[in-house]
Symmetry: D2
Subunit: 370 residues, 4 copies
Amino acid sequence: MTPIKQENIQVGEIANGLPLTIPVYRLKGNGTGPRVYIQANMHGAEVQGNAVIYQLLEQLQQQTLAGDITLVPYANPIGCNQKSGEFTLGRFDPITGTNWNRMYQSHLPLVDTFVAEHLDSSLSEIKNQFSAALVQATQAMLDGPAYSINTGKRIALNLQRLAHEADIVLDLHTGPISSKHLYCPEYAKASASYFNIPHVLLIPNDFDGALDEASFCPWWALSEAYKKQGRDIPVLVEAFTVELGSQEKIDLTEAKADAASLLSYLSYKEVLLNSPFKPQAMVRYGCMLQDYLAYYAPMGGMVEYTAVLGSHIKAGDTIAHILRMERYLSEQPLHSITLDKDAIAILHFASASVNQGTELYKFFTNYFEL
Amino acid sequence: MTPIKQENIQVGEIANGLPLTIPVYRLKGNGTGPRVYIQANMHGAEVQGNAVIYQLLEQLQQQTLAGDITLVPYANPIGCNQKSGEFTLGRFDPITGTNWNRMYQSHLPLVDTFVAEHLDSSLSEIKNQFSAALVQATQAMLDGPAYSINTGKRIALNLQRLAHEADIVLDLHTGPISSKHLYCPEYAKASASYFNIPHVLLIPNDFDGALDEASFCPWWALSEAYKKQGRDIPVLVEAFTVELGSQEKIDLTEAKADAASLLSYLSYKEVLLNSPFKPQAMVRYGCMLQDYLAYYAPMGGMVEYTAVLGSHIKAGDTIAHILRMERYLSEQPLHSITLDKDAIAILHFASASVNQGTELYKFFTNYFEL
Amino acid sequence: MTPIKQENIQVGEIANGLPLTIPVYRLKGNGTGPRVYIQANMHGAEVQGNAVIYQLLEQLQQQTLAGDITLVPYANPIGCNQKSGEFTLGRFDPITGTNWNRMYQSHLPLVDTFVAEHLDSSLSEIKNQFSAALVQATQAMLDGPAYSINTGKRIALNLQRLAHEADIVLDLHTGPISSKHLYCPEYAKASASYFNIPHVLLIPNDFDGALDEASFCPWWALSEAYKKQGRDIPVLVEAFTVELGSQEKIDLTEAKADAASLLSYLSYKEVLLNSPFKPQAMVRYGCMLQDYLAYYAPMGGMVEYTAVLGSHIKAGDTIAHILRMERYLSEQPLHSITLDKDAIAILHFASASVNQGTELYKFFTNYFEL
Amino acid sequence: MTPIKQENIQVGEIANGLPLTIPVYRLKGNGTGPRVYIQANMHGAEVQGNAVIYQLLEQLQQQTLAGDITLVPYANPIGCNQKSGEFTLGRFDPITGTNWNRMYQSHLPLVDTFVAEHLDSSLSEIKNQFSAALVQATQAMLDGPAYSINTGKRIALNLQRLAHEADIVLDLHTGPISSKHLYCPEYAKASASYFNIPHVLLIPNDFDGALDEASFCPWWALSEAYKKQGRDIPVLVEAFTVELGSQEKIDLTEAKADAASLLSYLSYKEVLLNSPFKPQAMVRYGCMLQDYLAYYAPMGGMVEYTAVLGSHIKAGDTIAHILRMERYLSEQPLHSITLDKDAIAILHFASASVNQGTELYKFFTNYFEL
């Protein structure tokens, strides 16, 4: 049995002075494989990742590990406990509105200096020292004056410091009502086929504050900076946002299947030795991020969502009915809503009640087989 | 075709001075049958009633009506439009926390005087004049100084005034995640079998601020007051809260079935003439209100709800798993939760994420066949 | 120096499994004086009571105490940390809307049995044994099945258990924007003059769920029940809700003055020996609870509050201007709002932006010198 | 008397199908002066700008106008009416968390093509045609598929279209608890002295989604693009965010003074002819945006704000006390908080109750006399 250790890290304090802490679970590998960081529940309503971490812990104890694995459930102790009615209002800081997953730090400014100073370093030196530089830059921000860091940034930096110690980063999220999909950096497309996830978003090297980007952007930029200097090095870190399905739901059986999906990928990456976990055979569809279409409600009303999530929609198919009971006699009370292009329906809004302009659906358009 | 007329009533003003209005649809009967009042969406997230009113309007135009029918969708223009994250935070006034369905007015104080003054009136006089007295007492409150009525009370009184004009009142609600059930005053138990709803809560003559109670309590008290005077009169008004299923959902097909259910009851009450709507054969289960058990989360955690709604639970059956990932190593991470008596699972909380003491489930206990 | 001891009581658990705890500070007296319980911040935004408890702790260490004193800041660990924008949304449970100060338990049903069993007991036996009965009944609820108590009830019962151990209960609150005022049970009117608070609400023996009521109602009812049996005993417990001023504000200087006000009352009650704290000379005004007028906004709009809090308004005086910029040309954009009776302005709403029916002001009417 | 005209523009629909409308007031000038656009209350709690527009309308009718003036109170009909407790939660979209004042559109991409096509156009041609291009580009987005624009964007674009018709744009905001200050683009520094506002933030040409930036950035970029082509043209539009003081407050007297301040600036810009409005003599302090310091709470707790807003703080001065009552015995319960540099205190948080990392204050540092 591989032993598990727990520590708790403090990431803030609330108004009555109580500490905000996050549990961190660690399993040690034999040191020959890549190090892994997995976190869940950065957005308060997206709880299923905690169940996946539970199932991972149950499984990993049975496995032989080549690399160290760090698992962090309940990554956001504020978001996790912020209720508004029955709903867990944990997508953004309730004070400022800032999305909790847009507060990680870009360390892109480190790249050019690093490359200049390590032009001829060995690949393993580059890997170790750039990783150390990222950890150190993150820690330096945490060590700055207490007044210089806001609440969400302090949580994010504490997590990011852990993530920069790893070669593989998995941030477990969910959509509102959603089919499973994966945010995958373009360079790691080959890895996407080892997850049991049929829908893959390929994202470019743009930093927008999320953990996956904070984790891979500097390494991707590093690879490109070396290329400019005439040296080819691979991108040495892979990071993914895994969208497990719908928010506000715990399903332990599904969590076990999702754990198997992640373990399949980790086996491919040789984190597990002699692992039984293999990817399922399935058709996987890809979509470039710029083709990921947000479809906003063309009118206010009460929505019956009719597009099956994961299904392939034809241009002109009805994707929703919008009911408007305010003027039953003088206008059409029931509207059929269509999309004007072929698409895969990935997720939809969690409520039937929408304003004009509420994000109704997200669609893969111009999708392709991976 | 029975024509429909629309009017809009103003029930308040918001901060930027815009009026709060509610659409009111009316169909006229031939005057021989009972008058009906149906409203929906008093709680903002409970939208399915609007779809039922849509389907009722579609059907009622085809029918011959003996009694007038008034239908009010979007009964609460504040609750209907109050968002907090994706969730419609419309169960209570966001300023005060007061449940929107606890602000109706008790007119029980009218009963004794009325009986004293109408001891020997005919049944139809009693019906007409007590109904008029209720309408008038409600109107008098609305006509009082503008500073004497709060926001929710003004909305409630405007709706209650309409309801007091009717002999049958149906208030369409939903639970959070819920099977269909009906709040039925004990005296109207016989009527419950004409709805296609398998679960019936029998409620006593206690006023707690809801529309059904505001509608039937005075009439029930009236009947009892006459009885004390040695005269037997029936309770002349029936009022029900119809719980259609889950919140935040529009399902037009289900709404059509629910409309048929309401029309079956209205046909039984002879509001519709030569109606094709008949109750479905089904076993209906009753439960006294004091046996309607709220089951609060015995610990904080992440909940997998395992009791199928509408299903019959045996004492000791697992009804939920609660996952606790904070102390995976030092305490049991997964708890099986049981109920210590036989029950029917009626509804459960809408989120997997609960505090200790969050209402997890509601159960029929000591239930019986109706 | 009188030593202070701290314990922490657990009153619940949040979704990520962390305990909700409340700090409890205790100072021991020599046992000859009444026991005192003081709590603050049951409503999340009403923080000034914490500062008053701070100043009390600073002072009480210097004093000789006849009675034990228990002080509980941060009484509500959920409400205290619930933000919505900059505002502390801590007046009601964010899930249910229930006011946190309406969840205490009425032990009135204990009274009749107790009197029957202790008809001829000595006054001190009555005091000790009824106090013990209240503590025990509260504890019994906490010891019931975990699934039978909701979140707010569990917090309230834990506090109430502490309060029932005392002879004097002070619950520190604030209004939204407010002058100082005191909720005082009618029988304790004489005590009101020992607080440095110019406005006193005299409240009857009706239980509505608040801590002061939960504390004094059973004792008041006990006194009345003995009277029915022909025996006169005083009401043996005094409980007050102290409204310290405005919410969302900490003012340490004002807190010191408020501490002196409470210490003046406690000196009068002989909790402190040889105390320097005396009531200030001031005219104190009383108002019966039924004359405490809630003035709701007669229209929606933007409000300039012009009545000075604590000031005496004449009937017809302008108390507010309401600006309406929606129809500047077609209706009056600026309205002067008046009250039609003489009054003292006690508090007003915290925002300029109001719906029709928002509680604008509360006024003492039919007030009198105490 | 200069007449006022009103129109209402529809900027969306809410869930019950009701239109979201905004009132637009227009006064016509003689055509010789610059056109002006003034809006207020884009953030729901920042209501004082509505009162300033009221006072402006009262004054402007008495004046002779050279330029057209458009005034828009209640600019955000969702934010204006979003309550959470007493607080107007109108800073961000309650569904998404996006700041309502970060959703305007950057038209910077238009600049290069325009300059290429209008290299030798006259200044007035440039002004008219670039203004028309901005209006047209904004309108084109509104004319796109209804599903392509989210709720906040639709509101913002409707307002931005009006703003692009003007040469002077004033967006009226407030801070939480705040002294008056002005966001002024660096090139318009000379204009800042005509407002009666002692604190001026000088902002660079960076687009971050706000209305002032959306209004001036393209014109500033245009000026610089012409300079690259060897032609010097001034920045033809001025846009400011005017921070009027504290949120949630209406003060009609102060609003009249603020109206006079704006009219002083408009007189200087020759929008008003023969105007009596002159700037007050006062020392005005400037601060570069990068020196505008956000000071986050170094610990969670209850804050007494002691820095007087508008006052000049010396390095090491106490700016706040933070009270922590959780561990009164084992740690320091009262902390004095200082800033390590000289500064002017501009605004502070609206609540005493803060988490570690809540924005406590904003300070001008490295400030200078304008």
